[in-house]
Amino acid sequence: MDLKNKHFVIIVTCVIFLACKESVPKLRDIEGQRVQVNYSATPKDSIENFIAPYRNRINQVLDSVLAFAPKAISKTDGSLNTTAGNLMSDIVMQEVNPVFNARTGKKIDFVLLNFGSIRSVISAGNITERTAYEVMPFENSVVVAELDGKAIRAMVSFLIKSTVAHPISGIQIIVDKNKSLQAVNIQGQPFDENRTYFVATSDYLVTGGDKMDFFKDYISLTDSDYLIRNTMVDYFKKMDTITAFEDDRFITVD
């Protein structure tokens, strides 16, 4: 390389150096894609080993068989009441009533849960504690709200307008084919607007969840400190066979 060329290269380099130093990064190209996490990626050993003791403990607890379901129990097998909804609300009634009674001397009049909180079907076959986790993964507990007649009336209107079957137990609602209310019975007695009722429900609903605003005006509120999931586990432990049926607790008559 002769001298003239050397100078030239030095000058060009300086110019380039200065030019580069002043540059501001400019976004030019973007490429986006969705990458599926599937069998093609080998699980990383160190991560697997890290998870293993946590997983083993959970499986040990969850996989012991508690009961047996001869038929699948689902929240979508009926329109106004369903097998899963009826089972859940009946379990809450049966398991929580003694706790509530022991604490207050009163009895639960009826139960209202929400359709959305049933997160899984109970498949035919063995029922384990894992089943209860699948159906009710949330850490919601049962509370008992004392409501006046006006609130109960608002509740019944809400249930009639609802497009999904919210689980109920201890209350019967009868409508005609135009969805006009025909009768409401609570514990087998006609609804009395002049008295108050003890309604067992989820702490999620009583604090504004699922827009069940009629719970806001409760007269009294009693915590049961009983997780909905644990009511299921305790019930499954007592029973050998778990069956549930669609019935007449919420029906349409001609």
Binding site: V12, R28, Q33, A41
Partner: protein
Amino acid sequence: MDRRKFISRTAASSAFVGLGGLSMNSCHNSSSKHITILHTNDVHSHIDPFPTNHSAYPNLGGLARRATMVDQIRKENPNTLLFDAGDIFQGTPYFNFYGGELEFKLMSILKYDAATIGNHDFDNGLDGLAAQLPYAKFDFLSANYDFTNTLMEGHVKPYKVYHVNGIKVGVFGLGIELAGLVTKRLYQETVYLDPIEIAQEISLTLKEEEKCDLIICLSHLGYQYQNPLKPDDLKLAASTENIDLIIGGHTHTFLDRPTITNNRKNQQMLVNQVGCFGINLGRIDFYFDDGKQSASEGVSIKV
């Protein structure tokens, strides 16, 4: 990726051919930069893959597989950031048994850079979330939840600027309205602020004061709602500027590819969401040059 390598190699080998090539390439090589953004949302404690007989997602997902994929991508491009758009918690017994400890520990091992807070991350209350913070070696970003006077005060930043290979990546988080969605007892005194107003402010701060080259929003608002008053990612995109990418969550929306949409200045930007349960990993690659080759002002987007 291969096309790009090919171009840059070709350019490098022709660098000494002519003056044009030389000047173009010296700058290009010193300041052409590639940032990879990886993201998840709504993993909901899904640490194990779905069983092979699962009706919807057979044999999909799994954190140990995600770890392998993230490792490979980081090997390919060390200038990679990894984010989560919220709802880390709730959905499997891992959460019920351990309260989120394992989720945070594993995300820390995978070297997540930041996450925003989803509504289900409040499921064990503010105390339940705060109790797991020691296991999280990543940032929590939320610009529209005010945690003043709660246990979370001081543990959540509105935004953070990540310096990656000379590129300033500004990242901020947004959360969904809690009233009516989360029990008050769980979120307590957390105050929800209008996400779109906050996003307008923060994105301006990131652009003008922090001089960020890339601005990313981690949003747990949800992809799209019919209700015009309910904020979502597409409304957020249309009513802000300076944001390059919104990484979304909450609605469990499986987008086949990121959505290209326009911001309020009619500039193209991306909104992405990769479903839920760790079934997918979102990947967005950003390529920068030094701003000298001003042949075109626009950004080319390939999805």
